[in-house]
Symmetry: C2
Subunit: 152 residues, 2 copies
């Protein structure tokens, strides 16, 4: 577990109250990983929602295991952003792999426990799911721009 | 307004109860549009969440008004899918334009009214926002695959 104070600094959790932050802090750990760590692997079960504290991360798509395409860069994550949003969204499988391009520090939230909290406290669930949707839409927007540029 | 029965047919609303469906039906209209209608225009305020009943729709990105890229196809919508998800997500602006490739029939939900309902009934808000996040992630997945292919 971590201090609830650490969560409070990030806009992702800004709508939550004291006891909600405390509940999430209890299912969260802070971890560091060396450069080149594959934190999530495409098309595997997603059970961690993460927030990048320090470092940089690439999103890599490798063809869904079909081998058609190998390790195409499809996005990146900067400090303060969430990753592993697939852990909060059915069917709870990572849609791309995630590789640390430098040493990283992350908050890792047990997403199964978080979903259980959201089911009980739907006010928190609604606020967090809105932020998840915002994060995914932001990434979609970036990816559409990249796709449009690649096709131009 | 439409009949709540019409909403019940679609998985997007499957977790809602009788009175929740009724409340949404009251802020929903059924509309038809001819081929080539631009239903939403990129980078304009998003105030309608739609469900495509009949027809086909292209998502088109035109460079955010900066004129860098003109009308690149970045996705498509099939019957049964939602569109205008940006109307439920801050900053509530369409990230791409939407063009009917054939005559279409849609359900149009007043998203400002829907967000107000979700604020009050966060159980419904949580369920709907989870479905919105699923729809956006599905589109992100598709777009990442297209981007990886375009870069291969």
């Amino acid at each position: 577990m971590i201090s609830p104070e650490l969560l409070r600094r990030y806009p992702f959790f800004s709508l939550l109250n004291e006891s909600q932050l405390k509940a999430i802090a209890m299912i969260t750990d802070e971890r560091t990983y060396p450069k080149d760590t594959i934190l999530f692997k495409e098309n595997t079960p997603a059970t961690k929602l993460c927030l990048l504290l320090e470092g940089d991360i690439d999103l890599v798509y490798s063809g869904g295991g079909e081998g058609a395409i190998v390790n195409a860069l499809v996005g990146s994550i900067a400090p303060g952003e969430v990753l592993g949003v697939s852990s909060m969204i059915e069917p709870y499988r990572f849609i791309s792999s995630v590789r640390a391009t430098v040493p990283i520090k992350v908050l890792e939230i047990d997403s199964i426990a978080l979903l259980a909290l959201c089911e009980v406290d739907t006010k928190m669930g609604y606020a967090l799911m809105s932020n998840i949707a915002t994060a995914v839409l932001e990434r979609l927007k970036f990816t559409q721009v990249e796709l449009a540029a690649a096709r131009a």
